[in-house]
Amino acid sequence: MLVGMTVTEEQSRVREPKECADEMSEYLRKIAEQRCRVSFSRLFSFFAPRVKSYALRQIGNDALAMELVQDTMANVWQKAHLFNYEKGSPSTWIFTIARNIRFDMLRKQQNRKEDICSEDLWPVLFEQTADPNEADLEEQTTLNQVGEFLDKLPVKQQVVIEAIYVKGKSQQEVADELDIPLGTVKSRTRLALQRLRELLKEND
């Protein structure tokens, strides 16, 4: 076997999807934290040709397809910090960015960009603030554990969290029931979730 063929080897090696996702996640982390050019070039070499073939199949025009690749990969470079490791794989994230850009390109061609844009429909590239609809806490630990941590929160926060997560009420309903401003419900939710996250980390 020849030595010094690392590049070819790298490309032809069959990788398990999970292993590949972990590797790509690690690149995204390094791009976000250190602007790591080596990581970006690896990630780019893997995804850009795939995004291009997606774009070509969707648009069938080489120049527009390249524009789609450019916009998608520029977003990846500039907004890697918005990738959420817990919510999906790098490939899903990059696909949704490409889908958004394709949607906007088509709307623009129809001069209808103003009606509705991709970020209205699929907010992929925004900071996610604490959202009561997000149930990702449940996935990280068992409900029992959360119950224990819940007891450590101030009573006022407990009441809000229980109403929203256990009883499935909206923040507005909770505000109405407790007769407190919606803003207060939101900040209590946010503080409580922050505290719960800290507790979860400490006990991980």
Partner: protein
């Protein structure tokens, strides 16, 4: 509890970006409210990303991609984008209704409320090229006269619940009606019911005095 969701195929079209924009808007608002469909959308996105980005056949870097890569790395990090402050609620008669994220942008494009027949209120929403959507508020006991649909009627329950003789729809429910459905929605909840509705053709009223409305039905809900 949300019981009514878009069909799986509709969600697939939505996730792939191929659904009609107005439908996409209503589906997106439903997904905002529906943990079940959030999971569906995540699963579909993953599936589609596999289908579109994971094929290993003959994808290689070429020189133009290499150039592009280097250009991109010269870009600085985009400044933090903050979600622009949007009105997140709708007001009617001193009550505030929290809107799902996808509809917030349109809150400012909502005309004022006007009273329709009986205990019904309507506020048109300018959706640009997509035409108009409507927020409709039914006071407790308020009802829309029996009607059928010439086209499709998409309804999302924003707050409260209503019945139509066959079913009861709760906050967050996504409802698609077409010419095969005739119904008489009634708000049964003591707080009334706020819905967002999009119809592509005017409704057609089918009984009693309401039939007199048909010549003017373009004024209602369209």
């Amino acid at each position: 509890m949300i019981k009514y969701h878009p069909e799986h195929e509709q969600l697939v079209k939505f996730v792939s970006g191929e659904a009609d924009p107005a439908w996409s808007l209503v589906m997106s608002a439903h997904v905002d409210m529906c943990p079940f469909c959030q999971k569906e959308v995540e699963a579909i996105s993953e599936e589609l990303s596999h289908e579109h980005l994971s094929n290993d056949a003959h994808v290689t870097m070429d020189s133009s991609l290499n150039l592009m890569m280097n250009d991109i790395m010269d870009l600085s990090t985009a400044s933090e984008e903050k979600e622009q402050s949007q009105t997140s609620y709708l007001e009617l008669e001193g009550r505030r209704f929290e809107l799902p994220r996808a509809l917030r942008r349109f809150a400012s494009k909502t005309d004022s409320w006007s009273r329709l027949v009986g205990k019904l209120w309507q506020a048109p929403v300018d959706l640009g090229e997509m035409g108009k959507g409507h927020f409709i508020f039914m006071e407790p006991g308020g009802s829309v006269p029996e009607h059928t649909h010439r086209g499709n009627e998409l309804t999302l329950v924003i707050n409260g619940e209503f019945q139509d003789g066959q079913r009861c729809y709760d906050t967050g429910d996504f409802i698609l009606m077409d010419s095969s459905n005739t119904h008489t929605p009634v708000a049964t909840h003591e707080d009334g019911c706020l819905v967002f509705s999009y119809v592509d053709e005017p409704l057609y009223f089918t009984s009693g005095l309401a039939r007199l409305l048909n010549p003017f039905s373009h004024l209602f809900f369209k």
